[in-house]
């Protein structure tokens, strides 16, 4: 058996953190796959690192652009961005929030 790296309790916590909700079938499948993947990933812990190995962020050292000059160039069509909203009032993006009283949504 693959070790149960992700117990049902831990899985439920991850699902909440990930802002998801799952059917029982989805949960079953995903938790099994997660455990399989973590079994494969376990190999990492057995790898002996050579002395002084630093983390690599992009593989190679990026020779990228220097930071840009500070210039204001307005995007020509900000209305097109608002128009993408599932719901807007022409000025603001709108999201439902009936429950909020004094307490911050968390």
């Amino acid at each position: 058996m693959t070790p149960d790296y992700i117990t049902p309790e831990l899985f439920a916590k991850l699902v909440t953190l990930a802002a998801l909700e799952l059917t029982p079938e989805e949960s079953e499948y995903l938790r099994t796959e997660l455990n399989h993947q973590l079994a494969a990933v376990k190999e990492l812990s057995e790898i002996k690192l050579a002395e002084g190995v630093q983390p690599s962020l992009h593989g190679l050292d990026c020779q990228g652009n220097p930071p840009r000059p500070d210039e204001w160039l307005p995007f020509p069509d900000s209305a097109a961005i608002l128009a993408l909203a599932p719901e807007s009032n022409g000025e603001y993006f709108r999201v439902p929030d009936f429950r909020r009283g004094g307490e911050e949504a968390k």
């Binding site: 058996m1 693959t2 070790p3 992700i6 899985f11 991850l14 699902v15 953190l17 990930a18 802002a19 998801l20 909700e21 799952l22 989805e26 499948y29 995903l30 796959e33 997660l34 399989h36 993947q37 973590l38 079994a39 494969a40 990933v41 376990k42 190999e43 990492l44 812990s45 790898i47 690192l49 050579a50 190995v53 630093q54 983390p55 690599s56 962020l57 992009h58 593989g59 190679l60 990026c62 020779q63 990228g64 652009n65 840009r68 069509d77 097109a80 961005i81 993408l84 909203a85 599932p86 719901e87 993006f93 999201v95 439902p96 929030d97 009936f98 429950r99 909020r100 949504a105 968390k106």
Partner: protein
Amino acid sequence: MSSIQLSAYQIAQKVRAGLLSPLEVLEDHLKQIAAVDGVPGSLEPKTSDPAEESKVHAFIEVSADLARRQAEQVRARLERGEDPGLLAGVPVSIKDIFCVQGTTTTAASRILYNFRPPYTATTVERLAQAGALIIGKTNLDEFTYGSSSESSAFQPHPNNPWNTERVTGGSSGGSAASVAAREVPLSLGTDTGGSIRQPAAFCGVVGLKPTYGRTSRYGLIAFGSSLDCPGPLARDVRDAALMLQVLAGADPKDSTSAVAPVPDYLAALEEGVRGMRIGISPDYDHITYPDTLTGEMSIQAIQPEMNTSVRAVAEVLAQLGAEIVENVPMPNARHGIPAYFVISRVEAASNLHRFDGVKYGYRARKPALDLSELYRATRAEGFGLQPKLRILMGMYVSAAQHSAQYYQKALRVRSMIRSDFERAFDPNGAYRLDALLTPTTPTTAFRRGEVMGDSVLMQYSDQMTVAGNHAGIPAVSIPAGLDPQGLPIGVQFFGMDFREDIILRAAYAYEQATRDAEWRAVQPQALRGSEVKA
């Protein structure tokens, strides 16, 4: 003769010389799409017509109007005596992970089913500037998360033109299929762990993953931001070089795009391989794969034709004057997938945070009382299983208490994977390679449904390719024959940072030397129908 028989290079030459009308080229390719592609991928697929089973289904959206406007512009530029660009009149398909203004950009996910970006990816912009005709958006694994293109929310998924019972590979499966089925001569794909090269190998086309930063990521919907690389899929090496020529170069909108100069890739092709040192590694003739039940790693053989093809390619190159360097150790290659499981998932989970039903795309039908309900319902309904799996994996391994064990460790393993290549390519080292030759995939194209669902097995089909993404180096997969079932075999050349010219040169030399090989005359199944006059 229909222009679908021409390479991109030939089309552009003829169009530029006024011998071929860009509109005619476009209509030829639209006709081919109509003939072989079948219904486009959709969220609500119609009840299955058995005839659709043998179609390619490379496209989610065919942008005929956009392409016609572009063809018209190319014609107008020619009439005004202006240079219409290196890809004048060449139809190009775009993996539907690139934002293109005027198209719907779905990432093959319900959560972006209606997303019409008000901006265009730099790579696509450059193609259009060079006179290419953006003919449509190709299907892929949802958010590129897969190696078969089956996980698209837009069904039917692409089928392999060589055998429509088989997968195209992925995630750039629609792109590879569209090129193989002569729907386009060129396609723009992305490669995060092998997503250009693996489907290229499965579909018998050329796929190039450039050096990280050689091509701009602006407008590419991110998977693993430190690994993602846009690149060309083409039917021959010269076309891949031509397309890279157009794509390559620094982009002020992408801080990680490289300022390194862009060489003349086409000119480099002709220089041959005499004196070139090409390595073969015993660490690439098998894969190391975990038992799903025990998690124990075991060495598993790969399909034998993969290794014989590598040998055969090496032999051809040796005859052309290259020096074959045996036994190049790549001891960290086997860690590629475990490290990838961590790094790509951490980045993917974060990159998917923005899909929340607030700003664009899908919002849950179910009424929500507050934000967290809205988020959960939207993401539950909008994402398929693969994004959900990657989010959960990414959340787990980047949690504060696990980060050192998984994420930080994986980044160090990534350095070690890179150091294998540095050692092999070191001009003062023991191997002094110009390129490393390996199989592209452990097997040829697998059957539809065969691997789908087994996320670990699916991921391991990238074991031969993923090291290039970790290291950031370029790699190209080229066709090198057919297996006994008539399925294409791909081999791959890895190269040094920004030396796409060298690996393209090796690939081109092999391709030219085997131009008349018998297997090259075999057409994909999808082209053998009566509708295509080869």
